[in-house]
């Protein structure tokens, strides 16, 4: 019956999703182009650095890969929580606390190498879990809105961390607000010389695979996805909705915390975060770009890392501020999240396809 010319509606829809993402990215880049034209005295020069800068030297490309690591963690963390339809923003605070927890272990205890790093990473994950759990428990127990509570928790996490840093970890000889320096046993080794790309990139890739398997190949992942799609259906089919929500937030918190730990142990020699790093919020953009599917998270994280590094290079070589990226991101998010964006076009394609199918069958 079927030949090459006609597809099922499902295939068209899947292909259409990819097309939609590309159009959304295209439109947002176009807006960025216009903004740069408007803001810069030498727009072509600025554009050149923005688009080609990251691949011009190995060091710049190294920067993209360095940024890819925390963005992947952020994206994975949000993806697990959003799959359960929980808009928990505490990933941001978890990322921060994860870095703090790892720093506490790195500075506070002596252990043989590798084991030290592993313990520090797990401590980071644990810190992340604790924070992300709070909005989940409030939601399940009292139906308290998780968006508001998690946004507030981010501030509390920040002030808590800054207290610990100032009163417990601070090295008075550092010359700035920073912890004592991490021993070599706890740090993640650099794997590409002359760049800062570290072991964390492998950890990130492993986590992508594990998160995918967790969400799509285990019964817990299935419960999370069903709960996210339709809570009532999940309830009637005997899924414990409350515990499923909590489980998804534990997983998300662990990923964010581990991301923070990886970032701190891989990129720095001391803990010196005095503001929230932003990777949790970046995770939202990445997760939406990847349709909350861990499979596509690395691609989305790479794309965003490329944009950021490009914008950064541009700001150093021209008169445009790198924050132009934040406008690109917002447009992408809205267009991809907009279910009706290009919908009439999709509809037409499906109708045309069906008509063709009918003709062929006749």
């Amino acid at each position: 019956m079927k030949n090459k010319q006609s597809y099922s509606s499902k295939t068209i829809e899947n292909r259409f999703e990819i097309f939609r993402v590309i159009v959304a990215i295209g439109i947002s880049l176009l807006v960025a182009l216009l903004l740069i034209m408007f803001a810069s005295k030498q727009p072509l020069n600025a554009l050149k650095w923005f688009l080609a800068g990251p691949i011009m030297t190995m060091r710049n490309f190294g920067n993209v890969l360095e940024l890819f690591i925390p963005l992947t963690f952020g994206g994975l963390s949000i993806a697990v929580m959003f799959q359960c339809n929980q808009f928990n923003m505490a990933a941001e605070g978890s990322f921060f606390l994860g870095g703090l927890g790892a720093a506490m272990i790195a500075v506070g205890v002596k252990m043989p190498s590798v084991i030290h790093a592993v313990v520090a990473l797990l401590a980071g994950a644990l810190f992340g879990v604790v924070l992300c759990l709070i909005p989940a428990i409030l939601k399940v127990k009292w139906k308290a809105n998780e968006v508001v509570s998690s946004l507030m928790l981010n501030y509390i996490a920040l002030f808590f961390g800054s207290y610990i840093l100032q009163y417990m970890l601070m090295d008075p000889d550092a010359g700035y607000i920073a912890s004592h320096s991490f021993p070599k046993s706890a740090r993640l080794a650099v794997i590409i010389p002359k760049t800062g790309v570290h072991m964390g990139i492998f950890i990130a890739i492993v986590m992508v695979v594990l998160t995918y398997l967790f969400l799509y190949r285990t019964k817990w992942g299935y419960a999370i996805r069903i709960t996210g799609q339709n809570e009532n259906f999940a309830k009637y089919s005997g899924i414990g909705v409350g515990s499923t929500i909590i489980l998804s937030q534990i997983a998300g918190g662990a990923l964010a915390g581990m991301g923070g730990a990886t970032q701190v142990l891989g990129m720095y020699t001391r803990f010196s975060w005095v503001s929230l790093p932003g990777y949790g919020f970046d995770g939202i953009i990445i997760s939406i770009l990847a349709k909350n599917n861990p499979k596509f998270i690395p691609l989305a994280a790479f794309f965003l890392a490329y944009l950021r590094v490009g914008a950064d290079i541009m700001s150093r070589r021209s008169d445009v501020a790198p924050e132009v990226v934040s406008i690109i991101q917002a447009i992408i998010v809205v267009l991809i999240a907009g279910k009706m964006f290009l919908d009439t076009y999709k509809h037409k394609m499906i109708v045309k396809n069906s008509q063709r199918q009918v003709k062929e069958e006749a």
């Binding site: 508001v148 002030f159 809205v334 999240a337 907009g338």
Partner: protein, 309 residues
Amino acid sequence: MNAVMATIFSASFLFSVIRLTTPILLAALAALITDRAGVMNIGLEGIMLCSALAGVVASAAFHSAFLGLIFAIITGVVFGLIMAYSALNLKADIILVGIAINLMASGGTIFVLYSICGDKGNSTSLKSLTMPSINIPVIGNIPVLGSILSGHNLLTYIAFLSVFLIWLLLYKTPLGLRIRVVGENPNAAESVGINVRKIQYIVLIISGVLASIGGAYMSMGYMDKFSRDMVAGRGFIALAAEALGTGTPVGIMGSSLIFGAADALATNLQVLNIPVQFVQMIPYALTIVGLIVYSVMRNRKEKKIGISK
């Protein structure tokens, strides 16, 4: 401890409570009006930040504080429209739209600030203006009370006046009735011929106006310049104030005053010997406590009337 008590009961402290309540109250009213029509506007933080910048830039460009305010409000309306179009026409989840607006605002304002002033921190190089302070004739002369209530920024009085205006709108006009019906049950509203989308467009625009006045207050009243991330979570605190205020304008005024007091306390307690971080936590921690209290109360009420699942 005596020092704390003396601070809290001084007229200048109560004056600063009102001062700090202003932006939270305006944003909480903005949250209320959308919430009553069944839309959750979490983009308030971003809208406030963008209007704060718009107000400063326009007031410097036109040498007029009022034109600055007008441009801030236009900015708020534009963002309200963007949110409405994305959420109602493109059918994007309104929470994601709000998040997108917040993310855009914190970077976008810095981008614009840098393009205009060549500075990423604040707008000191712009000769921007502030809205005038008002001395209330009779009340201003009463001792103590006068020094608490009089002499505030014009926008502060507008904020408290808005409480009354929003109450009037919600409970005494046909539009208000429609807003409440849409929020209660959009399908029922549709079935009696109310254009749900139109109502939700209207509330998002009103919400944009209120939030933008709150933003303008930050940069043209509370401070006399724009500085990066100056809204500092007040748009989020407002969401909690709205929840805690049980969805009525007067309740929201009360809860906003609580958060304003917490904010003022945080500023005033910094002289004491407590680690500054714990003092800074107060407004945010209180917000979470408030959210829990509100949720528990709501659940009890729902159980009582038997609609709890």
